[in-house]
Point group: C2
Chain length 753, copies 2
């Protein structure tokens, strides 16, 4: 157990490093040359122009106005100043609601912290158990925790009452917040401008018909079954191959630009490259000519593929976006079952055009079902057995292992410098690489599961990541041993024993988690605002690839809120808060600092940096709500386990109502609010329809909708469509061209460099 001194030291280090990040950020963001890294959102909005255009040469790159440095924290009040309605308008509803999670954390934890410090800390402090036990090492933190209460003491009554108060308060705040977010969402949806997805429904699993093409079949089906409402539909082309070619071409073009820039700066020497893998071997040729030829080749290929996709009947997948004359009809079609066979003619709300995940639109029911089974089993193994391959790699990666497998490397390895590098670096490396790759692995699994929109993929990945964190970070930190050993323990022990074991270990781990919060929470968030990777990437691109102003805009990487990884991490702090609220109250202020600091940082980021990939209207809120409740229930069970080891066996029974009531609360809220996030009420649809009919009686909806749902690879390509297509994206502040490129980037990750 760490003493108060250790904690203070750790706190000092972390506060200093967080401070260093903040100072660095304050310095960097004031340099004009970094302007596009720290304020890309404003560039995308078209409000901010390049500061490098005018003035002294030096002041193009470095800020010489020293007064601005003095107020290096003035971004904080600026971040808090923008009112929420404006924030929704500026950064999108998803982002605005996302930062409300941090606010929710403050709303829940701050009163709990105050109450806990005022009531429980004195009760614990005067418990005087640890002073009597002479041979046990204990720290001052433990004196403030429940460990200081003698076994079987009546003082536990205070903790039991407080745990009820805390649970009640959490549920109350959760309820209020769910209500607020649901109301906000409905207001947001009601105030939205006309968008194609309001009129459209995604139809999947269109059954094959021997006499008709997919398109004809869809038209006939909906003409018959929604006779007064059907308007038009767009079939989906399987353009995955085409998208690959386009992405490849883009990459070659980047290299082309790079060599051309190189040549222009130093016209004396023509740049050359090798034709083999990554330019490492093969014949040496003139680089610009080589890439010219390669690009021409790919362009031809692209033409052929484009022609094939648009003409070949087989390139049409059995899915389509069907549009209706009114929002009412679309709402009806999305919520009803079409055919007596519930695995064909599946209808659901169409995602926004930019939110569609095109690859997954054509998976038949049985395959989907099997994929989900495999991914569930896969997730189980990933969570509980991920240490096995890593341990295997680690065992290979030690000196003896490498020498055994690759004996010819022996002379090199035996050199001292190499040896110490391998010994010190390799074992940890495998785990680090795995943890960095984990979100991508989880996203890949979600994609295999066959969800059809990016927003849903993000939400599913978040659920998986939450489970991983819960088992491997939370329980893994409390119980020693790998997740698999925990699982075995869980199976072999009585079910109450597990909560007892875990529960009784909790007070001892408080100092560990305090350090964790400071490292991961405080310094991590401070690092987030510095954006070191995008900063470096931007300057690399800027140096080698940028020729025109447009290129520079493209080199900007605003990034976006990564819901799939950051939300589960917030949940982890919620859980820590719930678990330690009665056990070690002194941990709570650290969490409060995390929530407050994160709130300011992310508010700043969504205002100035992040560019939203899609707008789901905060469809993630039910997930957030449910996971906070899950954390609460877990903490209640562990608290029961802890208490039953402290000679308060009977009073444990008093606590059993807590999880029961929380579970009931979950169902209550689900019934009360969830449908606001998954359905679209007919009443609201009718109001919008009526209003539109009155204000725009001559609107030609068919023209408006006809090309709304087109694979991004066709956009801006040969089959250039009128840009009226997509009003949301046709936002006057955002040039359409860039928008569509941004989209395609998502589906065809361009390695760029």
């Amino acid at each position: 157990m760490a003493s108060l001194q250790d904690i203070s030291l750790s706190a000092t280090i972390n506060i200093l490093s967080a401070f260093a990040f903040l100072v660095a950020f304050a310095m960097f963001r004031l340099q004009p040359m970094n302007d596009r890294v720290y304020f890309p959102k404003w560039y995308l909005k078209g409000i901010r122009g390049s500061p490098t255009r005018s003035g002294l040469l030096v002041s193009k790159f470095v800020n010489l106005d020293f007064r601005t440095y003095i107020r290096f924290l003035n971004w904080m009040p600026a971040a808090l100043r923008m009112p929420e309605p404006e924030l929704i308008d500026h950064a999108g509803f998803d982002s605005a609601v996302y930062i409300r999670i941090y606010l929710l954390g403050l709303k829940i934890i701050v009163p709990v912290t105050i109450l806990s410090l005022v009531v429980l800390v004195p009760v614990n402090w005067t418990g005087k158990t640890l002073e009597k036990v002479k041979d046990l090492a204990f720290s001052d933190i433990d004196k403030l925790s429940i460990s200081n209460i003698p076994v079987g003491s009546e003082r536990f009554l205070a903790h039991i009452v407080m745990s009820y108060v805390f649970s009640f308060w959490t549920c109350y705040v959760l309820y209020k917040e769910y209500k607020t977010v649901a109301t906000m969402r409905l207001r947001f949806l009601a105030s939205e401008r006309r968008r194609p997805d309001q009129f459209s429904v995604l139809v999947r699993n269109v059954p094959p018909d021997p006499d008709e093409s997919v398109s004809e079949h869809i038209e006939h089906f909906f003409c018959v079954n929604h006779p007064d409402h059907y308007l038009t539909h767009q079939v989906v082309y399987n353009a995955n191959n085409l998208a690959n070619i386009v992405a490849k071409k883009k990459k070659l073009q980047n290299w082309h630009v790079y060599y051309q820039n190189k040549y222009e700066r130093n016209p004396t020497r023509k740049p050359t490259t090798k034709t083999g893998f990554m330019g490492l071997w093969g014949n040496r040729v003139d680089a610009i000519d080589y890439y010219d030829a390669e690009i021409a080749k790919l362009t031809e290929e692209e033409e052929a593929e484009r022609a094939r996709v648009t003409s070949d009947v087989k390139a049409v997948v059995p899915a389509a976006f069907v549009s209706f004359k009114t929002r009412w009809a679309a709402a009806v079609c999305a919520q009803t079952q079409q055919s007596s066979n519930p695995t064909i003619w599946l209808t659901e709300w169409a995602p926004e055009p930019r939110d569609v995940y095109w690859e997954n639109l054509a998976i038949p029911y049985v395959e989907l079902s099997i994929r989900r089974l495999l991914m569930s089993v896969g997730l189980f193994f990933l969570i509980f057995f991920f240490m096995i391959p890593i341990a295997f790699v680690q065992s290979l990666a030690n000196i003896e292992g490498i020498e055994k497998v690759l004996p010819f490397l022996k002379p090199i390895i035996e050199k001292k410098a190499v040896k110490s590098l391998i010994q010190g670096f390799l074992p940890g490396l495998a785990l680090k690489i795995f943890l960095v790759l984990l979100p991508n692995i989880l996203m890949l699994m979600s994609k295999i599961e066959g969800y059809t929109s990016l927003s849903f993929l993000d939400r599913r990945s978040a659920a998986k990541y939450y489970l991983f964190i819960l088992v491997n970070v939370f329980l893994g930190s409390i119980v020693t041993g790998t997740a698999f050993q925990q699982l075995q323990k869980f199976i072999d022990q009585p079910s109450t024993e597990f909560t007892k074991t875990v529960g009784s270990t909790i007070p001892m781990k408080a100092t560990f988690f305090i350090t964790y919060i400071m490292v991961d929470g405080w310094s991590g968030i401070a690092a987030e605002i510095l954006r070191l990777v995008p900063l470096v990437m931007f300057h690399l691109k800027n140096t080698f690839l940028v020729k025109t102003e447009q290129d520079r805009e493209q080199a900007m990487d605003p990034g976006s809120l990564n819901f799939a990884t950051s939300e589960p991490r917030i949940q982890f702090y919620f859980m820590l808060g719930h678990v330690y609220s009665v056990v070690t109250p002194i941990l709570l202020p650290f969490i409060v600092v995390f929530f407050a600091f994160s709130f300011v940082v992310f508010r700043h980021q969504i205002i100035n940096v992040y560019n939203q990939q899609y707008e789901s209207g905060a469809a993630f809120w039910p997930d957030v709500h449910r996971r906070i409740e899950t954390g609460l229930i877990i903490s209640q069970l562990l608290w029961m386990g802890l208490l039953s080891t402290r000679g308060a066996d009977k009073s444990t029974l008093v606590l059993i109502a807590q999880p029961v009531l929380t579970i009931w609360f979950h169902f209550f809220c689900k019934g009360r609010f969830e449908s606001a996030f998954v359905k679209f009420p007919l009443q609201d649809a009718m109001v919008k329809d009526t209003l539109e009919r009155a204000t725009e009686p001559n609107l030609n909806l068919k023209v408006y909708l006809q090309d709304a749902y087109i694979h991004p690879v066709f956009k801006g390509g040969e089959i250039e469509r009128p840009t009226v297509v997509n009003e949301e994206e046709n936002n006057p502040l955002v040039p359409t061209k860039r928008t569509s490129r941004r989209n395609s980037g998502r589906y065809s990750p361009d390695a760029s460099f």
Copy 2:
């Protein structure tokens, strides 16, 4: 452990008693005076007339044609002869599908039995473990079971393979059957004649409006939000009080008839009665005059109440049946969300008029949510702690207890006859009364939970009863001790330990369950066909109450399939079959006999006796399917537990895929078929609408629907409505008057006598 001899003895006794019931049934059913007890269905259909009308006086009551007695089992082939489509037409779709559960049992268990007897019994028989163990008592049945295999033997491979084969076969048959039933249901719904519920939607939680009445508010809301489709609506009156008065009046009328009959048979003496409770004390008055006056008083009261209900605004509950112009529009309204607040304007498919449970139509969301929480907690306590009050009553009901509490009774109790009665009878009585009342308690709990149709109430009660049987009969028989003690064990042991304990006890309980099957299954079913209680009741009523032919028809009690109690009992046999298929194959033939015998008996009953209370279109099938799967999964887990105690610890891991795959199979089937039972596809609705528009272009639907959903107490009363109202009930074979009385009987249980 019972030996083969004990089993044979028990079998003989049970077969004889079953045989006796069958012979008694064969005798009774041939007597003309019992005709209305054993063939009420045909009377209700109007096909069979009273046989007592003509011929000799004796032959009116007793069958003198002795040839008919010889073929006393000829009802069996007769019961099997009716083809299924005719059966659906005759007895209703629910009943026809219900007996398919028994058929499903045969389809699953018969091949399993054969395979098990052919493969596993020889493997077990030659295991020769039990012969070596000298000091252990064992029976021949155990030699045929898995107990005869030595610990750690390789022979277990046969059992493991077989368990996979059985699980696979079960799932295959379940899948086929689900598909068949779903197809049958869709065909049934498509072929149905026009019925009010096809066009109607039940709207609940209509929000209060300060300016409009409930009726106006509903009309405006649906006129706005379903403008082209809304047709009409009927508000629901809170007529519970009126229904009570009507029921009370009915009862008094019965007494009136009874005394009048008495007077007519013996005109010398005017019958008298006492005015106090149950005619036991109070003033002695002339009975006929007294009841005349009482009835007149109640008639007035009824008039007043009727007037109040139809005129008072407060008598209208915030719920209504809203009807649409087409089936398509009704399907749309039932499947969509109307308002942005998901707890108001709730729409769901309207149940059939006779299926509506009127009392529950007006429960607000929060109250409903709290009711369900309380009932869940209540069910938990009922299942695990029901023994506590019973044990308390039993402790009171012993001699010493009674003497202590009521010392003045001492002289009476101490008499030998009374004493032995109390000692022998009372302790068991409390439990027996509880078990008889249990289905009613569960139904009451379901009613409190607030479901709005009788069919749904039945299904919910069945779910509760299944849980009770699973915990208290199945597990209770295997593990000693009360359910609460099991629960404690389950909590205090490792989770695997519980399945091990239970699993290892299973082989020893085989003989117990064989006896149970014979008593409860064989003799119980044979008793079912004899209908002793309705037989006695009919003759009592016939003697004292019947004056006219119409009275006699009313005295008939056809009864109906009691889904809530009989389906969970079938599930119990399914579970026994799954559990013992690999463990003690010799038990399986007993289950086969149960399924086959029940199939014949219930087919006979639904053809000749039962009168359906409602038609849900086999909406219960998903429940049946799910519970069979649950039983299968439980059996797989117990089988793993059993195997792990037999030194085959490693091979237990091979079995873990079984429950995982079965759970996956559950979700697969759910996605594939369930919506056929809960939704009505728009395509089918459109087909029916189009057909109707073509065949009956001049149909006045508004007139047809206007009084379809009227509280049964208003039917045939002062506010007599045109009988066109309800075509299904207006079946030419069934006199309308009786039908409506049958309905009201359900809501106001008339004690009659």
